[in-house]
Structure formats: C-alpha cells, structure tokens
Symmetry: C2
Subunit: 465 residues, 2 copies
C-alpha cells in the first residue's frame, strides 16, 4: 500500500453550475492550500492543508506549487483509430468517412499498428490532461483489444468497445451482425470491469447499422445490462436523412435506438446537433446522455449544438464534452472548451433577438454562456455524471480514484503569459474567483501547454518537458 | 550593404487561388530547393538553388533545412492595446467594449505602459510568424507613437493610426473631432512613409464616430490622399442598429463611410459579417477591402463571415484575414486559418442544401472551402493585395522586402507529430502537393508551435527556443 499526499491549490466541483445561475461559486470547491491523500490510488482524505497535515504525520508529500490542480479531464467521445488522420481536409461527415477515415481505421486490423497507435493515443491524451475517455475503436477486434491493453498498462479508466458497422461502409471495412455479436461477447468477457476498463456496446451510428446489427446490440445489452452503450446521433443533416433510408419506419433518429431498447442510463449519443424538442425530452426522460463535440461540429460543418437547450432545467439532458478526434482537430479538452464557448456565443447571436426579436430567449442564451465553472465542471464531474462514473472519478471526493491535472496558467501561446498577470496580480490564486478567472484564461487564451502534470491513480503519468 | 542568401524549401503565390478552382497549383510556386538572395533587406534573386547558386559564388548562405519557408504572415486587423486583455469573458461586442476593452486601452495613455505593451505586442507577433499588421491603437497619441517607434526599432512594415472615438464610449476614453484631426495630422507628418511605417486614418467604427469626426476623417483623406483608411463595418447586429441611431440618414453601414468619401482603394472595413448584397457590390466597385476575423466573430458571437460570397468572381471583394486580437483570442494567423476553415464549413451546412434545398448554392459552397492554397494566399499575397502593399511584401518576387517564416510541420500540439508523417512519408516535401498538405496540417492540426523562425528584411528576428 502506497500512501502519499499531494499539496497544492485544488479546484473541483460539488454540483452542476447550471443549477446555480448567478451564484456559480456554490457549485465549486477551491482550496488555495489543500492536501489530497491517496492510498493505493484512491482518495482517502481531502481538505485544507492546515487541517489535514497533522493527521498524516509521516506522510510523503509532493508539493505542486504555482499550479491549479483539477480532476483529470474526461473526453466523452473520441475515435482511437483516427489518431493519425485527425484534421483531414475538405468534406462533411459522410464523404469524409469514406475518403479519409475508413482507410486509416482499417490499418488497425494489424495488431502491431494498433499497438503502436495505442501508445501514441494515450501519450497524446495524457499530454492534454485527459485521464478518461469513452472511445470508439474499429470493426477489428484487435483494435479494441490493444486499446484496452494499453489502458490497462497505464491503469487508466476507459470505456470502449468494438465499433460495429455493417452498412454504408467499404467492403474491406464492414462487419456482419453475427460477427459483431460474437466478437463483442468475447471482448466483454475479457475486458469489462477488468482493472479500470469498462465495456460499451458500440454500434457506430444508425446510418451504418442495419436492423440486424441493432438487434444484436439489443441482445448484448439484455445479456450484459451493466454495459455501456455508445454511438452517434443527429450529427449531420445528410446523415440524418440517410438514417431514414436505412431504418424506414423510424419517426426520428433517436427512435431507431429506442426501438432496440438501447436508450437509458449509460447510453451516450455523440453530437446531437439536430435533435428535435421531442428527442431532447425523451433523452431527458430516459436519463440518457449526449456529447457536445464543438470542434468536430465546426470542422466538419455539422452544425451548432444547442448548449442552452440541453441544459434547460425543465428537461436537462446528461452531457459529456468530447474532442471527437479526428473529426475534431485537437486532442485537448481545453481546445474543446475554446470551441464550446464560441458555439455558445454564436448561438446567442440569434437567441438574444439581435437578428429577429421573435427568436429571443434570454434564459436559453444565458445557459449558452460557458463560464469557467460550467466549462471545467463539464470536463470533470459533469463528464463523469454523463458517463455514469461519477462514483469513481470527476472530483476529489473521498473514495474516488485520484486522477488529476496540474495546470500552469502562465504557459500557452504568445500572449498567454502577460494575460495571466491581469489576475491575482500575477501571483497564485487566492480566492475561488481568482482561480476561476485563471481557468477561463487557460481555456481561451491558453491551450494544452498549460498542462504541466497529469496524474493517474495517484501516480504522475505525464510531466511536461 | 549586406547581401545574403537563404536556401531552403519555399512556398509562395503568384495569383489568387480562388481564380483557379480545380487547379490551385497554378496559383502557387514551390521550390523544394530554392535560393533567395537578399540585398539590404530587398529580394534581388529567387529561384532554384541549382540555377542561382553559381551567380553568387561568394554569397554567405543560411541553409534552413526541413522547413517550409513562406512569406511572413499579414494580419489585416488587430488591436495593439488589447494585447493583455485578449479573451475576456462573456459579452457580445458592445458590452464587451465597455466592460473590458476601454479600461485596458485607456492605460495606453501612459507612455511607459504603451512602450512595454509594444514590446510584448511585437514579440507575440514574431513568435506567431506575423511580420505585417494593420493595427488599431487608442485615442491617446502616445499609444500610436509607441507602436510606430517599436515597429521602427524592429524594422517591421506596419499600418496604423490614431484610433478615434467620440461617442458611445466612457468620458475618460472619448476623443473630440478637433483633437483627433490635429493629433492625426501630427502623427501623419511624423510617421507616414517614414521607414516602413504607413499611416491609416482610423475612425474606430461608425457607431463611435459622430458626423463631425467622420467629417474630419474626410478632410484628412483629402489632405493625405495616399494614407490608408481603417475601420470596422457590420460586425454585430446590435452595433449595426446603433449605427442607424448615430447616423440617421444612412441607408446602411457602408453608406456612412461612403458619405464621407472614405471608401475606395486602401480602405479596410473589419469584420463585414452582415453585409447586404448591395454593400458587397459597392465595396467591389470601389476596390475597397474587408477583413475576415473568424476567431473574433466566433468568440464575440458576432456571426459568420460569408467567405464564399466575398470571393464571388462577379463581385470579388479585396480581403485580408485578421486576428482581431483581443476580440479574437489568439495572436496566431495559423489559428485564424483554423477558425476560417471552420466558419467556411459551417456556412456550407446551409449552402449545400442539407437543411433547406432552396438555399443550395454549390458555387458559393465550393468557395467557402479553405484549402491550404486559399488559406496561405490569404495571409500572404492576398493580405498584401487587400492592403495595397503587394508591391512591397507578400511573395518572394524580386524587389519585395524579405519578410518570411520558416515552418516546422512536425511541431505542434499532441497529435501533430504523427499526423505529419502521413505526408511525404514523413520526410521533406518533394512536390507542391506535399507542401500544400503539410501547410494544411500546420493550420489545422498544428498551431503557432510550427513557427520556427521569423525573418524581417532579411534578418532573423525570431528563433524558437
């Protein structure tokens, strides 16, 4: 048993800031000088250093100075085998898949390529401050295996699963419903709840899943009710029309997944750009989740996620934020926050009634504004709630796994250093307001260069050179 | 006289790539192994190394290996005194100005603050690969003076001018029409065409300029017809409505500037998000320019610039790209290209007829796609044409000033290094297509970390640590 202490300035959340409009500080917790005590990777004590240090007289303490320590970032939607091809030119979703993505993903049928890719994938995640992902793989079981194997070696909490597609993909890439079922079964047995790995039944999207494939997903979910379900929903208008062709009886996109009893807790639909009011309401009622992937939605020209709609208290939908790397062109969840802020602001061009007073919705517009509180909650505790893993990660509560990031607010692209001196006279954060302003600077003026250290289960897994 | 040679892989433009749809290579020039010869800062020879090396037997040659060398980037719209306050939270244009910007800009009335700010401003620009800016200052003449003084010390080509506002700003910040006129005259005499400095008559925007102030601008332009004119136009819906209040007789935003004879060659209106068809046509006819500031338009929720409309061959408008730092949250023109690509793609969600087939405009949609050719042309030769300085900068033509950037395609955020190996087998670019693919990777997967060296007038002004 290794017991160790980490001393520093800690910032995490105890509640959803969208529930505290006008008093967001009530959702957060800031300890300018705190102590986190970790025993075998699990948080056993957390509080002000002055209160707690006495309890652990002989504790080995790592003092992380001049940093803000937050829980590790959670990426709710990322494509492992797109690591190398991120940021490919010039197409919207469907032709982009055909031209760039399927050929690269097909290479992950080779075990060595998948193994090497997994090393790079996790290296990139840790350098970005991301400690948990919900990840797509490919149709090749070895791709999923190598993802879980590398996650195990790094002791990282990962949700993933064989990514099924049996229609609207090239012959060299498609799976069959039966093979998908059999391979998924094998992988669930081998990896689900083994170490920190969790398994998600993963039909890629309704546009690429025949009724037979989704029938098999339903069977898997019945046989493994505690497994996750991860897919895409309503990303792109052409895709949505295509879903109507593959599943002719469905009233809308969500109805396809509902038909196969996939929509409930632990279900995540990525993107959710073009959801109807009815779909929002049904996702809310089902306690299911969606993922907001702003950089991908912009990069692929998919559309603008309605952040203020998803956070409507009358029908709040669980939510993660995601890179959607490689449709999103960055690995960094800080870059996701930059993009998410911009999408929220652009949505407000219409919602504040600027263009057409009849479109004015001041409450939704307010909810579109991504404050530092809303932003960092969304990629830590909020993301954990969206994935139904908030009993394990997402904050510094005792009993949770000690995944965290140390952020240096002075590091970033040209301009970040001087900007940071506007807050707290350039010193360390003294108040929660100081810390929140620094976090906003990190997500908007800074970038992944602010990630100084990333810790997994109480061990340092990345230190910036 | 210093004569020196720079050997390396050069990429620049000879024409507007939007004129070469389907054959963009015809607009560009790539020398995998080229030689640029500079005499006292001016390009005197440019061509393949094998052809030219013999002409200059005793030449001192700097060999820049494993880089793509492009002309220095041109930022058409940036606010010098917002260097420290970039990326301020939560407001659209008008309240953002009042809350964050005017208080910070007011500090530049202090000469020492302005001088220190200018050092940081140019340090940030050079680290971003930007060698020319068209910059706003503040209402304080010392702010403009210190910008030009620092530009002179660095021998950089800068267009700027005292930035007049006499209405819709706090008492501590407003100027008067008469003082603006007198101070502008003094500054024009002192700085215009002195060294590489060029002067722009700079009414901040019609919303903050009374008829009296614009009358004085007209007078200045009559008295100094070769001076530039730099302002804002149609950035934000609330601003546009406000212009109608300040200038009640005007038919539209552009008509205000037309009334005072400001619109013609060397006129730039920043943003131009909400221009009418008539305004586009009149800008075209006047041979005036607009600036596309995607990151600012997203960050402030201003709206989406119609790139495919501005590049309509029937009424092509001259165009620069700009950071609009600090409304734009990055100093880097590479980050501008990332944002510009995304704005173009989002525009196409409507234009490709996905949502409403009646909105389909395939030609405009095609023009919205920001290829590497269109992108790098826009921040080099295209930017120079937009500013009417293409006789001096923007390409490697003989007679131009030797401002350039050496880009390292392997450097960037997590993911950039492996991505770069997809092109040219990870080696140096051999063909123009290789180089263009690398440039696209730099702008989308990479960021300012790709800027390895920045040269001004044939001298290295920045070298990445």
């Amino acid at each position: 048993m290794t017991v160790r202490g980490i001393r520093g300035s800690f910032f995490d959340f105890i509640d959803d800031p969208w529930k505290h409009v006008g008093d967001e500080e009530a959702s957060a917790r800031f300890l300018a000088d705190g102590l986190l005590v970790v025993d075998d990777g699990i948080i056993v004590s957390f509080g002000p250093y002055s209160d707690r240090a006495g309890e652990y007289a002989d504790l080995e303490i790592t003092h992380i100075e001049h940093r803000i320590i937050t829980p590790g970032f959670i990426d709710g939607h990322i494509h492992f085998p797109q690591t190398r091809v991120l940021g490919a030119f010039g197409e919207q979703l469907l032709p982009w898949l055909q031209k760039w993505v399927f050929p690269e993903e097909a290479r992950y049928a080779d075990r060595q390529y998948a193994k090497d890719g997994a090393v790079r994938f996790f290296d990139n995640l840790l350098a970005s401050g991301t400690t948990t992902v919900q990840a797509f793989t490919s149709t090749a079981p070895v791709c999923t295996e190598e993802l879980f194997e590398e996650a195990s070696r790094r002791n990282m909490r990962v949700i993933s699963g064989l990514t099924g597609i049996d229609t609207n993909a090239p012959d060299y890439f498609v799976d069959t419903a039966d093979a998908f079922y059999a391979d998924s079964k094998t992988l669930i047995e081998k990896y689900h709840n083994v170490g920190r790995n969790l398994y998600a039944i993963t039909p890629r999207f309704a546009f690429g899943a025949s009724p037979e494939l989704l029938e098999r997903c339903a069977q898997l979910k019945t046989e493994h009710p505690d497994a996750w379900v991860h897919t895409h929903i309503s990303e792109n208008p052409a895709e949505i029309r295509g879903v109507g062709v593959v599943h002719p009886g469905a009233d809308d996109y969500l109805a396809v997944y509902e038909k196969y009893n996939l929509v409930g807790p632990k279900f995540t639909g990525g993107h959710a750009v073009w959801l109807s009011n009815s779909e929002y309401k049904r996702l809310h009622d089902a306690e299911a989740s969606v993922t907001f992937c702003p950089n991908s939605n912009l990069f692929l020209g998919s559309g603008m996620f309605r952040l203020g709609k998803a956070t409507d208290p009358d029908q709040r939908v669980r939510m993660t934020f995601g890179t959607d790397m490689g449709g999103g062109n960055r690995f960094s969840m800080l870059a996701v926050l930059d993009g998410a802020y911009k999408v929220g602001m652009i949505n407000n061009t219409l919602l504040d009634g600027s263009i057409d007073p009849s479109l004015k919705d001041a409450a939704e517009a307010e909810r579109n504004k991504l404050s530092a509180y809303r932003a960092f909650w969304s990629i830590t505790l909020g993301g954990a709630e969206g994935l139904y893993i908030d009993d394990r990660v997402g904050s510094f509560d005792v009993g949770k796994e000690a995944d965290f990031v140390a952020l240096d607010w002075t590091q970033g692209p040209p301009g970040a250093d001087w900007h940071s001196t506007l807050i707290a006279d350039g010193g360390d954060p003294v108040t929660m307001d100081d810390a929140a302003n620094m976090l906003f600077g990190i997500m908007i003026v800074g970038d992944d260069r602010a990630v100084d250290q990333t810790w997994v289960m109480g061990e340092r897994a990345y230190q910036k050179a």
